[in-house]
């Protein structure tokens, strides 16, 4: 298992060297994923809640669609975004391809269904408890959605974290729309893929270890915040 120990070593030396290239990549990774996940949460949570709350024609199909979209293949999403943003595509004029913005868009598309589907699940359970009380109080659609998202916030954290996990681990889509251009759109996952194709497996694993450590840190912080808040308002 010398590969694993040299991977640890690679990760370790990368970190203590405070390599500025690495810092740049880490920073871009975090920026892209966090913006994409925030956007996805902003869209996906109200959407998921609305699907849980309202009974309308086509609702069942939308739920199924949403669940299925959790399995959107990143490469396909990347490709579709690539075609839309490419110079000859409908949004080509904005010149967004191979920029971090393009990567954020691709991740947003991938992550929104995940957050929306998981939110629907959480809010559905909560709504079974709240429905009659809220209808009796005369809460309007928007008020119901906000109140349920608020009251379900502790349970919804896992949904957002699942989305963050998908975004930060994702490589297929950002590779296509970002292009893995050094100093411009290279993020942790595409850097890992590059090292793999170079055959430098130890470095690739090392970068992987750094990525997982980062994600552990973010999860740790959000767990602590969540538990503290729950203690106060259980």
């Amino acid at each position: 298992m010398s590969d694993f120990s040299s991977a640890l070593w690679a990760a370790f030396s990368l970190v203590i060297q405070l390599d500025s290239d690495l810092a740049e990549i880490v920073f871009l990774s975090l920026k892209v994923s966090l913006i994409a996940v925030s956007g996805a949460a902003l869209i996906g949570m109200p959407l998921g809640a609305a699907l849980a709350l309202f009974r309308f024609r086509g609702r069942a199909s939308m739920v199924v669609l949403l669940n299925a979209l959790m399995g959107l293949p990143p490469v396909v999403v990347g490709l579709a975004v690539y075609l839309v943003l490419s110079r000859s595509g409908p949004l080509g004029v904005f010149g967004l391809l191979f920029t971090p913005t393009a990567m954020i868009i691709a991740q947003l598309i991938l992550v929104t269904p995940i957050i929306a589907a998981l939110t629907r699940q959480v809010i559905d359970d909560l709504w079974r408890e709240y429905e009659e009380q809220f209808r009796s109080l005369g809460a309007g659609p928007g008020q119901r959605i906000t109140a349920l998202l608020w009251d379900g916030r502790f349970s919804l954290a896992t949904a957002v974290l699942a989305g963050f996990g998908r975004a930060s681990a994702e490589v297929g889509a950002v590779m296509i729309v970002g292009g893995n251009i050094d100093h411009v759109t290279r993020v942790m996952t595409t850097a890992i893929a590059l090292e793999v194709s170079k055959g430098d497996l130890a470095l690739a694993l090392g970068l992987g270890i750094i990525l997982i450590t980062l994600s552990l840190a973010i999860n740790g912080v959000s767990y602590v915040i969540n538990e503290k808040a729950r203690e106060n308002h259980g």
Binding site: E129, Y130, E132, Q133, R135, S136, L137, G138, A139, G140, Q143, A147, D151, N232, H233, G234
Partner: protein, 258 residues
């Protein structure tokens, strides 16, 4: 807050409700006018809670019509409020639970604290205002549910066994409160298993049995001489049981039921 025009009378026309493949409410037809306090009594599972839910438009009849005067949307009219048998506490503080109800009725933010304060005081909960509502004792939750409904000053107030888990003093206070609210013009429609309470509060009684309305009568008439056999048995069952109580409580039961 419903001060404009009355939403009463309420009329049921041949209302039935099905659930789980069975008819749980059967052919209810009657009319409730503004004014009296209506108490619904009946055995467990008779359909009392379903009945209140139908009135309050939380469930829709499988057949028949429920007509409120000038309030025929699909949702409960803002002039109504309800205290559920199994109160739902939002995951917020006691005060915020009441405040939330006010915010939904667009009561100006600056007016809310006073209203919240008053509602909590009336139900004896002001000491607990900052508590998380979900750690309250069951009785405290029932009081909070009442405060939350009453703060809206509804024209029609549905109460589903509002004192079932209250201690004797609190029960008494809630009964007083109900009387006060009633005198201020709120139409009370409530259920109870406490026949003494029914006796004290009712102007009009509806007796439900297995989803059917067997008797609708003025309280005095109902308690002294129920027309319906089953209603008589229901009251008598109670009587019987009091009679079988030990030692000096025979006379009590006589008293209650006379």
């Amino acid at each position: 807050m419903g001060k404009s025009e009355s939403i009463l009378p309420l009329e049921f026309r041949q209302v039935s409700f099905e659930g789980g493949g069975k008819r749980l409410i059967k052919d209810l037809s009657f009319r409730l006018d503004a004014g009296p306090r209506t108490i619904i009594i009946g055995a467990n599972g008779a359909g009392k809670s379903l009945f209140l839910r139908l009135c309050h438009k939380l469930i829709v009849p499988s057949s028949g019509e429920i007509i409120w005067h000038g309030a025929n949307g699909r949702n409960p009219a803002p002039a109504q409020a309800m205290v559920f048998q199994r109160p739902v506490m939002l995951r917020r503080s006691v005060a915020a639970n009441v405040g939330y109800a006010l915010s939904l009725r667009k009561v100006p933010r600056e007016k809310r604290p006073a209203l919240i304060e008053e509602a909590l005081r009336m139900t004896g909960l002001n000491r607990l205002a900052g508590y998380s509502a979900r750690v309250l004792s069951f009785g405290e939750q029932q009081k909070l549910a009442l405060a939350r409904a009453w703060v809206l000053r509804p024209e029609v107030l549905f109460l589903d066994e509002p004192t079932a888990s209250l201690d004797p003093a609190a029960t008494h206070e809630v009964e007083e409160l109900i009387n006060t609210i009633h005198q201020a013009g709120t139409r009370i429609i409530m259920t109870t298993h406490d026949l003494g309470q029914a006796h004290r509060l009712a102007d009009e009684v509806l007796f439900l049995h297995r989803g059917r309305l067997l008797e609708k009568a003025a309280a005095a008439a109902f308690f002294t001489k129920p027309e319906n056999d089953l209603a008589r048995k229901f009251i008598a069952g109670d009587l019987l049981w009091w009679k079988r109580g030990k030692d000096n409580r025979n006379q009590i039961s006589e008293g209650v039921m006379k």
